[in-house]
Amino acid sequence: MSYINADSILETIDMIRVHHLDIRTVTLALSLRDCCDADVKIAGEKIYEKITRYAKNLVAMANEIEEEYSIPIINKRISVTPISLVGESCKEYDYIHLAKVLDKAAKDVGVNFIGGFGALVEKGCTRGDIALIESIPEALKQTERICSSVNVASSKAGINMDAVLKMGQTIKQAAQLTADKDGIGAAKLVCFCNVPGDNPFMAGAFHGYGEPECALNVGVSGPGVVRAAIESLPEGTNFSDMANKIKQIAFKITSTGELVGREMAQRMNLPFGIIDLSLAPTPEIGDSVAGIFQAMGLEHAGAHGTTAALAMLNDAVKKGGIMASSHVGGLSGAFIPVSEDAGMIEAASKGCLTFDKLEAMTSVCSVGLDMIAIPGDTPADTISGIIADEMAIGMINKKTTAVRIIPAPNKKAGDKVVFGGLLGEAPIMNVNTLSSSKFVQRGGRIPAPIHSLNN
């Protein structure tokens, strides 16, 4: 009996070399709760020592596995305990110092991003939380590799509108302080509702409470593979068969991620955490979630039917992926970032895809309004209004939603921002210019919703 299955081998190689199948990220998740200290300098030393000790082999191991399976592992990253928790035991808060320590640790172990410079404030803020949030713009300006996330709402706690108001201002300031780079600070800052504590993807990765001391989490990718699978179907294939095809391919993608994750974890002597089976696009041609919509039969992302297409895609990916791994977690769905997806960039540039349509799509995708550039003169209160809407979608639908928007300094609708690399580029999209000020400035909390009478 032959051991060689030529079709399987060629299919796998094609997925990698033609359709951009890759492991998007291996993320070392690490608790820093034992690094608290009354002296911020000592806390910083403990943080640096712990991160560099645990992550010293992360990049080398990832490279070794990449070599053995010939599958690219694009990013190696670290997520840590929300730094508001670690830093608030200090007598004098100095979150900028801690941000610099994290940045240096990330640089020294060779990872491109470290996530967790954030806070969980869905019900209210501690003094440390407030100090951290206020330090975010400066921290993002002074560092290169820090990613920041703040959870401001949940289905159980409601929406912390004080935090939403503050985050509108924080996002605006983060963009302004990095005006020389098109406001890239805001591209590394995200607000969440129902944030998962085991997400390996940036900018929202952090090591949540209830998580172990450390874990190795993996995020896969593969929009190009899904698109190719749909295109391989006979024209006019019905939705049931198309959904099945997506499930099959999602299984294959996720199995590969699981293999890589388990191998990495074993070699680094860490517990395997989860695999996040999100379809993460890149700005490269052929690696686009918008391209999947076109393969499904829509003229472009943004056409009527896009929300239904996304809903089906998201669900089929989960159903196929969950069979392939014992531990699926994180965000696990389809991402729809604008600047990081060539098809979405094109759709937005042509005016096919509007801000409002994107908002509708977030009610069925895995995350939310992601990497959307808006005019630099958008008032902070309007940004808070955008956040409030998005948080409401997550809160009511018991799903994760997020906002990562960039009010690009000195740019107006029709202009373009260019971040380069995986962050890509984006046209500036119009937002509604009606005022949200009086609404978002009321303060307090939007109460948690009723969890019955689901109509």
Binding site: S2, Y3, I4, A6, S8, I9, E68, I71
Partner: protein, 96 residues
Amino acid sequence: MQENKSENKIIITVYGADRIGIVAKVANVLAQYNVNIEDIKQTIMQDYFVMFLLGDISKAEKSFKEIKEAIQKAGEELHMEIWVQKKQIFDKMHNI
């Protein structure tokens, strides 16, 4: 049973324009590195020669990386594209 461990199995995929000596050259490298050939399959697909080779590296003294580099060097000399991968990726991806 070190030999039967799936992590010791590698799949070598070679493709490009057909010519004399492809199998011989790759097999020669494998012999040098003490890699046992367990199965070979070859075909022509869309005018291209494609060869698959299942090898066992459990008796090899050099590392996977060194073996891979040597095979890829042979591929460059043959002007063929060569992929060298641990077999686990195919087993995992295509089996429930």
